[in-house]
């Protein structure tokens, strides 16, 4: 039978992806019989649920506007660079020799 110390160290695994593993099954078995560990697991779940329930602000309009100003400048300069390689080759004919 697993002890509380071990359960404490691995209890998170029983919230995660390895639910079917022998270790998780042993944790589950322990938790069914141990009210303290059951309380601990329940409080961990509530902690996570609380953080999931905290509302997060949506993107502010000004941040959206600033972002698209930056993106427009980036895409415009990339488009310009695509149109200009011949000019720069004339100015610097040695550039592509390496």
């Amino acid at each position: 039978m697993m002890k509380c110390d071990e359960v404490y160290l691995h209890i998170c695994d029983s919230l995660d992806e390895d639910l079917g593993s022998p270790q998780c099954r042993a944790i589950k078995k322990h938790i069914e019989r141990c009210p303290e560990c059951r309380t601990y697991l329940s409080s961990l779940k509530t902690t996570i649920a609380l953080y999931c329930a905290v509302p997060v602000p949506r993107l502010p309009a000004q941040a959206h506007k600033d972002l698209f100003t930056t993106i427009s400048a980036l895409t415009a300069s990339a488009a310009q660079a695509c149109r200009q390689p011949r000019k720069s080759q004339k100015k610097n004919p040695t550039r592509d020799r390496t």
Binding site: D16, L50, A53
Partner: protein, 206 residues
């Protein structure tokens, strides 16, 4: 043949077209993901101005590096990596933020000893799904997560709030799965302890 508008392209095709240097496709990609990136940044930085700055930096980096995205991981995982790097580069030690080493104490069960022996916890009658976060509780939640070192906060946000797997989180952060699990365990234990009066519910007898 008529070209499809970027707006009508599914994500994977939009990414492919944007990667090939199509600027309207890139702009559409930004439009689709800007809210996700801002909200994720906010959850890590906990500051609207920093989140907006990270949003800008992230898409500038995406524009420059999109050609290197090989499609082997999910696009969102790749984005999370860039956001996280930008957030972590901006970090400065906040007042009250814990040292990383102090989180190691949460590997030991003495933190569990308080459980079940509290005098009278504040009761929570709601089930987690019905939770309405009041102002006071919100401040407590915010204070607690702000004290977590960002390296730990990122893992908690990616795993428990964004729902990424251990593998995806590890890949995005350049950690091993074991290191990811260890940070997650400590972060959860720390936050649970900080919220103890709010999350302590009597054990239910099955």
């Amino acid at each position: 043949m008529r070209t499809r508008s970027p707006r009508n392209l599914p994500d994977d095709e939009l990414i492919r077209v944007a990667r090939d240097g199509d600027n309207p496709a890139f702009t559409e990609l930004v439009r689709r993901y800007e809210d996700t990136v801002y909200r994720f940044s906010y959850k890590i930085c906990r500051d609207p101005a920093k989140a907006a700055e990270t949003l800008q930096d992230t898409f500038v980096n995406v524009f420059r590096k999109l050609r290197t995205f090989d499609g082997k991981s999910k696009f969102s995982t790749w984005l999370y990596t860039i956001v996280t790097n930008n957030c972590l580069m901006k970090r400065r030690k906040r007042k009250g933020e814990l040292l990383e080493e102090s989180l190691e104490a949460y590997d030991h069960p003495q933190h569990q000893q308080t459980i079940g022996h509290r005098s009278q916890p504040l009761s929570m009658h709601e089930t987690p799904a019905d939770l309405v976060i009041g102002k006071e509780l919100r401040e407590v939640l915010d204070r607690a997560i702000t004290r977590l070192p960002e390296d730990y906060r990122v893992v908690f946000v990616m795993r428990d709030i964004e729902g990424q797997s251990n593998g995806e989180t590890a890949r995005a952060l350049g950690l091993s799965v074991e290191a990811t699990k260890s940070r997650l365990r400590r972060a959860r234990a720390f936050l649970r302890e900080q919220l103890d009066p709010y999350v302590h519910t009597p054990a239910r007898i099955a």
